[in-house]
């Protein structure tokens, strides 16, 4: 017991049972209501999170539906051999990590810059209005976003295709057939969807900075630019670091909807848009290739775990307080 309330301590001391097991039993009975409160969610976490963790072993099995998952024969590392023998594994890994790194870095720079800029807007009403509009895209599901991108890129009627590109001499471009355009399209889409909300998070942190710091700086004759680089940015650094590190831990997982829906799952775009998540999904649902998808799934989970641990260790090293655990 960490910190029993004083009253409870006095009354309980006399009846405190001896031995570890006795104490445990005593505590279970005493805190049965609180334990009951924890029960339903604990069960749900067990189903949604813990059983699938143990289920990772299927990557080492050769699943067939006659024997069932438990009864199917072990396959050793065969599934992994097949996965890494293809060029797929390398391609989806490079795509996943590449997009994530670019998204994290550019998202950070753009969100923080926007937050600092909007903090300087003097008209409060205008500032509120801008914030309200900027976070709007984030409220749309990726399915809706895919329609928006489609409205611009529709091979016949799309706004860009029909009205803008012809001005530059391109007619009837089917973007869904040109893989090289997609790193840019996906980047714009992702930034459109996320930097507004990102900047509002940083803005909230900026408004938490003490006014006196700026007043003192002005007394000393600091320019606006100096205030930003010498006060705002240093004080934002902890939250920037922790958010970035958290994102770095997720570098092996991607925004499935962005890569699956916005590209319309177009086969012609796979070379530049296929990521681990879409690869696993396709193997599981469309191709029914359990061996391959479970191997890729295992690879993602395990590497992802080490990335989270590593990112957290890094955060701890930089600043104990910013670490997740």
């Amino acid at each position: 017991m960490a910190n029993p309330a004083p009253q409870a301590m006095n009354t309980k001391l006399a009846t405190q049972p001896q031995g570890r097991f006795g104490r445990l039993l005593h505590n279970i009975v005493r805190y049965r209501v609180l334990l009951l409160m924890l029960l339903p969610t604990s069960i749900i976490f067990f189903i949604n999170c813990y059983i699938p963790m143990f289920g990772l072993f299927i990557a080492f099995k050769n699943i067939n539906y006659i024997d069932g998952i438990m009864g199917s024969p072990w396959a050793g590392l065969d599934n992994f051999r097949f996965l890494f023998a293809t060029s797929d594994a390398l391609r989806v890994t490079i795509n996943t990590v590449g997009y994530n790194v670019v998204f994290i870095i550019s998202g950070l720079i753009l969100s923080v810059s926007l937050a600092i800029a909007i903090n300087e807007v003097r008209n409060k009403l205008a500032s509120k209005f801008f914030q309200t509009v900027m976070i709007m895209p984030n409220f749309l599901s990726m399915v809706v976003v895919s329609f928006i991108v489609y409205a611009f890129l529709h091979p016949e009627y799309g706004f860009l295709v029909k009205h803008i590109l012809p001005m530059f001499g391109y007619s009837s471009v089917n973007a869904y057939m040109h893989p090289n355009a997609w790193p840019y399209i996906l980047w714009i889409t992702k930034m459109w969807h996320s930097i507004g909300i990102g900047s509002v998070i940083y803005l909230a942190a900026i408004t938490g900075i003490s006014e006196e710091l700026y007043e003192a700086a002005v007394m000393d004759g600091a320019s606006k630019w100096q205030q930003i680089t010498k006060i705002t940015l240093p004080l934002l650094t902890p939250i920037m670091v922790i958010l970035t590190i958290l994102n770095m831990g997720g570098i092996f997982r991607s925004d499935f909807g962005l890569f699956y829906h916005v590209t319309l799952d177009s086969g012609a775009l796979r070379s530049t848009t296929d990521v681990i998540d879409t690869y696993v999904y396709r193997g599981l649902i469309q191709l029914n290739d359990l061996g391959m998808s479970s191997a890729a799934n295992f690879y993602q989970s395990v590497v992802g775990f080490f990335l989270v641990i590593g990112a957290n260790a890094l955060a701890r090293k930089l600043n104990r307080d910013t670490a997740l655990f």
Partner: protein, 304 residues
């Protein structure tokens, strides 16, 4: 928005700088909102004009026939709205209640199993079994294919929201209040429901709104688990529509409207009208979001 930007009285930027800033943000706001308005514009454009002139931000004539069509043959739409609403409402209520119930014992300093249950949550933030085992569990062992439970249950395990709620409890509910409640002879349940929950309204509202949005915008679980057209959510119907233009015609034709074959279906504008109708409810909760949302985001509750 609760975050009013600060205009520092001691540092008057130049008026020119203010004008540049405002012009920039007006442009940026337009970039955020115009793509959404393009969808609205297309949904209000005549089908023939669309095929002739392509998608435009400003239709020559406003034509609401896509909406008329949707309401006339509303069976698919009504069903999908029904599924989405059911899942969203049940999911949100359950999620908020369960999150608060789990967060409360973690907040109690005298609770001896606090560390264990903290750790139990933390693990799920670090390590995930991934899609394949999760899918096989739901389909092969829990038999949740084509069940609405498969759309609700996955959203009920969010460790992050529990930590946010627990931190809110720590910051706003004094221990003495719980103690005095106990001295007055109130049961643990009573303390939770009549003391803790009412004070925690801000954080519960924040989490409720996040959860509402998550359930309303969810399509992934439908893609995994739902084949029965009667249980298609709004988001999932939209996926079908963008992938196969024919889906809508056959769906609607299947709903017993024989006239359909002769009647021309405004496919292009129809799809976009559907998208507009799916965004509608989000606009409705948007003001509430603004009120609570930054508070929820900055509650500073990341640490386990």
């Amino acid at each position: 928005m609760t975050t009013a930007s600060r205009s520092n009285p001691y540092t008057k930027g130049s008026t020119t700088a203010q004008i540049i800033l405002n012009v920039f943000f007006i442009a940026f706001s337009l970039a955020c909102i115009l793509p959404i308005l393009l969808i609205v514009a297309i949904s209000l454009t005549n089908e023939k004009a669309l095929t002739l002139q392509g998608y435009k931000f400003w239709p020559d004539h406003i034509d609401a026939s896509a909406y008329q069509y949707l309401f006339k043959h509303s069976e698919t739409l009504v069903k999908a709205y029904g599924v989405s609403l059911t899942v969203t409402i049940i999911g949100t209520v359950l999620a908020v209640l369960l999150i608060a119930l789990y967060a409360y014992p973690l907040y109690r300093k005298d609770f001896p199993f606090k560390k264990t249950f903290n750790f139990y949550l933390l693990i799920t933030m670090l390590f995930s079994g991934g899609l394949v085992p999760f899918y096989l569990l739901y389909v092969n062992y829990l038999d949740l294919k084509d069940s609405l439970v498969a759309l609700i249950l996955p959203g009920l395990s969010n460790a992050f929201y529990i930590f946010i709620t627990r931190t809110f409890f720590q910051q706003t509910i004094p221990e003495e209040m719980i103690e005095s409640g106990k001295l007055d002879g109130a049961s643990e349940w009573r303390i939770f429901f009549q003391l803790v929950l009412p004070i925690s309204l801000p954080v519960l509202a924040t989490i409720g709104l996040f959860t509402t949005l998550m359930y309303w915008n969810d399509w992934f679980n439908s893609m995994l688990f739902i084949n029965d057209t009667d249980k298609f959510s709004l988001q999932y119907v939209m996926i079908q529509m963008i992938r196969q233009a024919e889906f809508f015609k056959t769906q609607l034709a299947g709903s017993g409207v024989a006239l359909m074959v002769q009647e021309s279906v405004p496919t292009e504008s129809l799809r976009m009208a559907m998208v507009v109708l799916s965004i509608g409810p989000i606009l409705f909760i948007y003001p509430f979001f603004q009120k609570y949302f930054t508070k929820g985001l900055t509650i500073g509750a990341i640490k386990g």
